[in-house]
């Protein structure tokens, strides 16, 4: 089996949480290279806990979570948790997070359609544009798996549609994605796989099956 054929991330009967507080139990799943999986569930269900465990910020309380050796991750945080918006140009901001900034920043901005705004201040950007900048930052170091936390939060419908099309395009180019959202229509627009997070469990489901069941706190 070649390295790229190994699962990018594997959860094996993992128990996830904080300290003694269990948020998700018996999590068993695999994220393969080239996957596009949407983690769907109501607010507070444990979606971000799952994401933080993949990022390596949380260790499983029990069971096993493993990442393929040398796996490169990219992360797009929730817009409102990305820190304050600094009075800094877009290209300068991206250059903070990349050793080979001169070569990498231009193509990263072009890939998300933001090259024309490279010199603009972060503070002048709309919510959708800022989220594109965050996506460009996440792609700077050539990630094999992108993790996105509520990526379309506070976007207007037009910006959201354009952003989802951008994500689909990046996935077609071969980047695996794990996207956390509570918005059903985001899952409908993107999902190849749906992972439902509810009642302390994660289960693989289909979009149609998920749509038929009642879910508190999930926008249809």
């Amino acid at each position: 089996m070649g390295t790229s054929e190994l699962p990018a991330v594997t959860f094996d009967r993992a128990v996830l949480g904080y300290g003694r507080r269990v948020v998700l139990s018996d999590v068993t799943l695999r994220v393969a290279s080239g996957d596009l999986a949407v983690v769907l569930g109501p607010n507070g269900a444990g979606k971000t806990t799952l994401l933080r465990t993949v990022l390596g910020e949380l260790r499983p309380l029990d069971g096993r979570v493993s990442r393929r050796a040398g796996l490169r991750l990219g992360y797009v945080p929730q817009l409102n948790s990305s820190g304050s918006w600094w009075p800094m140009s877009v290209s300068e901001f991206l250059a903070l997070f990349c050793r080979r900034a001169r070569r990498a920043v231009g193509p990263a901005l072009a890939a998300v359609g933001m090259e024309a705004l490279a010199g603009a201040s972060l503070q002048e950007l709309s919510g959708g544009q800022r989220q594109r900048v965050m996506l460009a930052r996440a792609r700077l170091n050539g990630p094999e798996l992108l993790l996105l936390d509520e990526p379309t939060q506070s976007m207007d419908p037009a910006a959201e549609q354009a952003y989802l099309a951008l994500l689909s395009g990046l996935h077609r180019q071969g980047t695996a994605m794990l996207i956390v959202t509570h918005l059903h229509h985001v899952a409908r627009a993107l999902a190849h796989r749906v992972l439902a997070v509810e009642n302390g469990c994660v289960r693989e489901t289909s979009l149609s099956a998920y749509a038929e069941a009642p879910h508190a706190g999930v926008e249809p």
Partner: protein, 263 residues
């Protein structure tokens, strides 16, 4: 100006203020960027209290000031953000430390601690050798602050993304804490507690309004320090004011003008 230059130790004083002021300004940029300006007040008051404790206990003043500043930064970093986030909490800590330092100093026999000097600084009273040593240390700190600034800003902006980019954010933030503690300790000798607060905040406050680039911020911050230091030292000498607080006043005036221009 010519009168000042004839004053023994004036050249060393200018060099020291420029080096220490630049170190304060550049290492304070991430503090201003992340909106933690009250941290600078707490830090300066902690170093001030440490200095007084050094006088009381007989330990080297620079050592106790540095230790208090570093310990305060460590506590602020380790405490949950919900406790250190509200400005009111930091203000109370600042007031408590300033009050403790003043009360402690007032009880020392024979006025061992120059309270006015501690609060507002008196660079012209600093021995020339001490001033030069402070200037050299500050220049080394400034070089380190400039060299590590990209990592520090990345870590301050988003620790997770900095870690994924292989930038070691915890090490960068720990290094920044060391630089801040060093800047404040050196600043106590040169400027005094109040001007140290100004030096940590005002150059960054102005730089962020006049430039959109990291290099631009550093250049503007150092220019603000240079202009206010030279003008302030000459002005304070001519008018017989404490130089540190005169420089801080000029910085505040410059910040007010820039704020009106770039609201």
């Amino acid at each position: 100006m010519s009168q000042l230059l004839h004053y023994a130790g004036a050249v060393e004083a200018v060099l020291t203020l420029l080096a220490v002021g630049s170190l304060l300004g550049v290492s304070g940029l991430p503090v201003v960027l992340t909106g933690r300006t009250f941290t600078s007040l707490v830090l300066a008051s902690a170093a001030g209290l440490g200095g007084v404790v050094g006088h009381v206990t007989g330990f080297p003043v620079w050592l106790t000031a540095f230790a208090f500043a570093l310990a305060t930064l460590a506590v602020l970093e380790l405490l949950p953000a919900r406790l250190t986030g509200p400005d009111g909490v930091l203000a109370v800590v600042y007031i408590a430390m300033t009050a403790a330092a003043t009360l402690l100093a007032s009880k020392l026999p024979g006025g061992d601690v120059d309270l006015l000097g501690l609060q507002f600084g008196n660079i012209l009273a600093l021995p020339r050798a001490s001033a030069l040593r402070t200037a050299v240390l500050a220049a080394a700190g400034l070089a380190a602050a400039v060299a590590t600034q990209r990592r520090i800003l990345a870590a301050a902006g988003d620790q997770t993304c900095a870690r994924l980019a292989g930038m070691g954010p915890r090490l960068a933030l720990a290094g920044h804490s060391l630089l801040l503690a060093m800047a404040v300790t050196l600043g106590l000798d040169a400027f005094g507690v109040i001007p140290v607060c100004a030096g940590l905040v005002v150059p960054g406050f102005i730089a962020l309004r006049l430039s959109r680039t990291r290099a631009g911020w550093i250049v503007v911050a150092m220019l603000i320090v240079a202009v206010t230091t030279v003008v302030g030292l000459v002005g304070s000498f001519a008018l017989d004011f404490p130089p540190g607080v005169f420089i801080a006043g000029l910085m505040a005036a410059a910040a007010t003008v820039v704020w009106f221009m770039r609201r």
